[in-house]
């Protein structure tokens, strides 16, 4: 039996080679878990796109000004 926490580490590529092989073997024998892992991987891909358009918005002036005035102070 392999814990769900360990399966998460497997999904995130954080296990060593031996442990990765162990989890992969476990998943082969557990189609239900294996399906869940596939769904989580799909969701991870989809989640990466969440709120992406916010990152492309221009940065409001007042926010930039805070940094710019701090930079000017640093020069004096």
């Amino acid at each position: 039996m392999i814990s769900d926490d360990k399966i998460m580490l497997y999904i995130d590529g954080l296990l060593n080679e031996l442990e990765t092989a162990e989890v992969a073997a476990y998943l082969l024998e557990n189609p239900e878990k294996s399906r869940e892992v596939a769904r989580i991987r799909e969701q991870n891909e989809a989640l990466k796109a969440m709120g992406k358009e916010i990152l492309e918005e221009p940065i409001p002036e007042n926010l930039l000004n805070i940094i710019n005035s701090a930079k000017l102070k640093g020069h004096n």
């Binding site: 926490d5 998460m8 989580i40 989640l47 358009e53 916010i54 492309e56 940065i59 926010l63 940094i67």
Partner: protein, 209 residues
């Protein structure tokens, strides 16, 4: 730290502003208030710049400050939690349905909103923002073991929600076959419904019904 290094850190802070704005919008669910939070966060970050250690993750450091600003505002100025469901205040994290793929994204966003606050937060930090477990632990001030188990449960909860949706869709499709009248596409009604927002936080809030 030398002055020239501060200048470099300040430049790096500028590159983090878009991500801070996204995190703030996720926390505040209101774009104006979200930018107020980012503003307070940047002011504090500039004041505390000497406490930032070269070589550590600047993004995580700024996220901690932003989260603290958010929590302090909630506590100190007694901002009232209001539930304002008006359309213009609705700031979903997903893009408007312009492309084909964004329909799936919208659906995901709807399911994401149904998760508990803790589950949303852990997924936001790790799956959306790509923070490492230890960085998420630092931002949330939780032990790494808690991060791991919460992440596992959050991911499973999201899988369960999308499974429920899938079986609902199948049912609707079966019904569409049985009924001779041209039925609406199974998705039409659910997609036009805005995701249920969490209670929103506003300055000098008034409680609406």
């Amino acid at each position: 730290m030398k002055k020239s290094e501060h200048q470099k850190t300040l430049d790096n802070m500028v590159s983090e502003i878009p991500r801070l704005r996204r995190f703030a919008r996720y926390l505040a669910k209101d774009s104006n208030y979200a930018d107020d939070l980012v503003q307070d966060c940047l002011v504090r970050a500039v004041e505390k710049i000497h406490t930032w250690q070269e070589g550590t993750n600047l993004r995580a450091w700024l996220f901690v400050i932003l989260k603290n600003v958010f929590l302090n505002n909630l506590r100190i100025s007694k901002r009232e939690i209001i539930t304002d469901f008006s359309e213009e205040n609705e700031i979903p994290l997903t893009a408007p349905a312009a492309q084909e793929s964004s329909i799936a994204l919208k659906e995901l966003n709807r399911q994401f909103q149904k998760l508990s606050h803790d589950h949303q937060e852990i997924l936001f930090l790790i799956a959306v923002e790509g923070f490492k477990y230890d960085e998420a632990a630092e931002i949330l001030k939780l032990p790494i073991g808690t991060i791991r188990s919460r992440l596992a449960r959050a991911r499973q909860a999201l899988v369960n929600l999308s499974d429920e949706q899938d079986s609902l869709d199948e049912k609707n499709q079966e019904q569409a076959f049985r009924v001779p009248v041209p039925a609406l596409k199974p998705h039409t009604s659910t997609l036009s419904m805005p995701p249920q927002p969490e209670p929103k936080v506003k300055k000098r809030g008034v409680r609406f019904q």
